[in-house]
Assembly symmetry: D2
Homo-oligomer: 348 residues x 4
């Protein structure tokens, strides 16, 4: 009953096997080999556009490099207060984009509202040198609250962003989960709605270690080669990432895995709907559930071996909670089984 | 006939298989799982000392984090002019240790001489604020010239370093190759001879992607956790690196692989010794050969499909070369076969 | 009727004259001359302690260097949301302390409350590498809201800070104004109450360009020499700053000037107390007044040549304002005359 | 007999007086006042071109900001090995342009030769990501060796620089001294010969603290506002710098002062020409003399109170020196008198 995080799972067997298959033979290094090039082409097909792709080792690297590519002196990056870049990356974004700052914006269920974004940007009038200057906006899809922005919500944010002349980044650590939740296409969820650059995550959805920066604006690609190398993210045997993505995309494995983990989350949600000891804090749009649970029930679950994290509740959620309740997070993965879920629910 | 680099090889089958074996089941993330801890213990056994180990994704990351852990304002890092940190890492060391500088030192066959090091450090008298302050010394073992420092040479450098009150880093991208060449122990080649921190490379010797920072001075370990995370080198499914090292150390696979690639280099060297078209620029101490070759012979080899790089010759080597000769580098790997070598030599 | 800022004034005649007096003769450069050393001693006398003093060119430099001297990877600096370091220094603090982050804390009248500070620090449990680690706390005295922390308020904050094992910085851009308002001593307002490092400002109080970093913890002094030089803040003819401070401290000129500007602010405040068109947003503790004023009255003042800035109102103040009112800031200086104030008040 | 450095002098009386004159009255801060604007215009007149001017506090700041404005990931800046940026600024250039590197080039008498520059740049082929990428070239005029590049020498370097698509910076800490030595115009010595950005120094030539960045390429001006503020170099009472430059340019004071100090250096040189105890290491082109002197004569001078520094000799100079000789540097200034020189020479 491991619901702590989707990164507690290992790798899907197809991914692991792909690494075995690619292990033999010689290939030119640092991303210039045939397999790397072939997989990069697959990205362009999937996104219905000629994109630039950069493999990196972690989601933090992808996010930080994306923001660093837009760096300006006194640069302000607008993000949700609970964004992974803001609270879970040990200042890597500030380090990669030296001298930049993250400006946190509040919003319920992990989402930034267009008005709030507009107001935040508005605090930096052009040429007010003391305050610095706006530099980029980043959103997470699916969000850190397990929700997913609708396509129209993305468009509405992009409109504010473009009006301010800024680039828009998407942290897609759980890109596939949001995608299958919305039932849309990768192109539609990104560049067609105004995304300029994407952190495309494979690790949380069944890979060992496979993350990619996808640049819809190829003019940033030349410098990204140097940014990536300078940040020690250019792998010599880069094909070990390519091989994972190769299997990931083959026969739409990635979508199947995301559908599975979303389904396990939905199965959990159905169970909670029938319980009087716990309820969802808000509806999920991915493989993450945030649940308000009675402390005794939580304790009982943990005693029976269930693993999950409690989570800090924002003021809006806190207002709906009783004193003897806790907010917890449950994450399912490609490796979660129906039996895992059902054991958990009966333990509840 | 691929002799371009040892990173053109893939992964040894045992390494790849280990990734398959570790793919199932759940484990706590970010390096806290059982496999990670077990492999860390193996490091302590191998180095005969209680070491702190940090898995990272690239040798550049290991080197840059090592130096960053010693960062001081105006800090000067002393290295060989042709050191990987100086010429092949796109300023990652300067980026990780913001505001620091690499001070290049010349020396034949890729080695720094104690006198030269002493003189270089001496240019920074204490409290001369304008020049900055010494911060660290880094050497590469095996060197970028394919040679290996003898144990006494390491001791002699360490003596200069300690006298200056500085820490000493070893870039061990080809650690195993130097180790088996010297026929010594990991402890003897490092902390027993004055090394404070080591970049321990597995990738060039048969892993997919397995590098480790080894801290003999554990007092730096606490901040290294933050340094690593901040540089986006903390892998969520960290066990994918641990699994590689697990196979790497099992039954001394790593030493066997290094012996093999060194042997292939020796076989090449023997071949060159019999040729009148090419000669070694200097004796090798690992799996890298630097060869002065007649241009027509080089061309003929390339036409027959041999892959290798030409290399900039230092002034001392240049003085021994004719106009119709070129300096080339040949690198063997765990995947190089006797047949590869013999085909190459007969093509010569 | 210039009330825009105290940095719109020039320099007090004694300060300017001191620069003339010091202009002749030769003196060793970079802060090693006799005048520099003598003025540094004066600092120690004034603070009743053997302090380390570093002259720098701007308050932003002093603040940023202070925080940089405590830098740690993933470091979090706690400050008031409206702190100068957070909103008026174009990310200089983040730039100087590469990879660090300012964590803004809300609080009425420009002050941080101990509970709020404690809660903010508490979000960074030791060894939770993802969030980074606490690094320093900074407060401003007088605050950006023109108020002054009482001595007990400083002690209460320092207690929280010390319990967390952190250093405490004071931004004293208007140090003298707060000092004479509280009627206390420099020692009492700083190290006796737990301040570790102080940005001591002279510029806003009658100097041309005279700021000093005062280190109560001399163990940081050695590296500060390098930090200052590396940030291009070590002046060759450093005595031009020393000469200003020399005049500044002579016969307690600095206290007289601060008393004067505070007095002018009080005179303004008295005037507002009698007006039905305007009222203080909160009581002042220095030479800055924040005033809620009727828009028509504001317009009339501006038409008559009064110069001042409007200011963003926090939620607590906004709640007390009518729609036809604006929050404005008025700053007096050593150069403000009673006539200036009286003209302004009668214009009102 | 103070010949240690031109920054041991104080300020010319006209400069000091100008500060007194400007001390009264109110003016808008941060470089937006009338005096600032007027002096900026004077710069455009002097340079016969509409330039962007940024006042800063130190030459190190000017140099570091200039290079930072061209920053690129993995950026390589080419400079003379003995350049002030390389050996006397405590890594400020590397700090301001985070992650960049200075590539030192050797050359006699403080000058870079076009061939050597071309070769140095040539080591960074486009798209070889490992080595990084060329970013800028910087030369010093007058050089750190007291020589001055001729106009044709500047043109020849600029040709190499432009061919490589790079910007060219001039460190003009002793700009006026080189200018009067060459007998040319500011325009001719800079943008007409290919300089893109200039550190224009006033401090060493009679100001207290007056340095300016002059941008011939105005497209860099917008970001420079933020770069300057972020580096804590935007002075609130910026007119204290403007006032110095105001006096500096009035009636060509700056040229008179430079002519005087150059003249004093020439007078010293004449004296050495008649001595058998000392000789010039190379001809001077400014107010700096490098002299090879017999140790006993050096000692005798010091005993009689002469103040100067000895200097590290390069290999070419060393080859011409005897064992009992030392290389020393003598610097004259606006404040050096004929009597100072004559006393020194008779002491010799």
């Amino acid at each position: 009953m491991f619901f702590a995080s989707d990164n507690w799972a290992g790798a899907h067997s197809d991914i692991a096997k792909s690494l075995v298959d690619a292990a033999g033979g010689f290939a030119s290094a640092y991303g210039t080999g045939d397999l790397d090039k072939r997989v990069e082409k697959t990205f362009s097909e999937i996104f219905e556009r000629d994109v630039a792709v950069f493999f990196v080792g972690t989601g933090t690297a992808a996010n930080s490099l994306a923001l660093a590519s837009f760096n300006r002196p006194g640069g302000q990056v607008f993000c949700h207060r609970e964004a992974h870049v803001n609270v879970d990356e040990c200042n890597a974004p500030e380090f990669f984009a030296t001298g930049s700052k993250l400006v946190p914006i509040d919003g319920p269920a992990g989402k930034i509202a267009p008005d709030a974004l507009s107001a935040a940007i508005g605090r930096f009038p052009p040429d007010f040198v003391h305050g610095g200057q706006p530099m980029a906006v980043t959103i997470t899809q699916a969000t850190e609250a397990g929700t997913a922005y609708s396509l129209d919500e993305i468009s509405a944010l992009a409109e504010v962003v473009k009006k301010a002349g800024l680039p828009l980044h998407m942290d897609g650590a759980r890109f596939a989960n949001a995608l299958v939740h919305l039932g849309t296409t990768p192109a539609e969820m990104t560049w067609k709605r105004g995304i300029d650059i994407l952190s495309f995550g494979g690790t949380k959805n069944g890979c060992w270690c496979a993350e990619a920066l996808v640049l819809f604006d190829r003019s940033k690609a030349q410098q990204m080669h140097f940014l990536r190398k300078r940040s020690a993210q250019l792998f010599s045997k880069s094909r070990f990432i390519a091989a994972q993505f190769d299997a990931y995309f083959r026969d739409n494995l990635w979508l199947s895995l995301a559908r599975h983990s979303n389904g396990m989350a939905a199965r959990l949600a159905s169970g909670f709907a029938k319980s009087d000891k716990a309820r969802l804090a808000w509806p999920t749009g991915s493989n993450e559930l945030f649940v308000i649970i009675r402390n005794d029930a939580m304790k009982a679950l943990q005693d029976k071996g269930a693993v999950f994290y409690d989570w800090p509740a924002g003021p809006d959620v806190k207002a709906t909670m009783h004193e003897d309740e806790t907010l917890i997070r449950l994450v399912t993965s490609f490796a979660t089984t129906e039996a895992d879920v059902d054991t958990f629910l009966s333990a509840l």
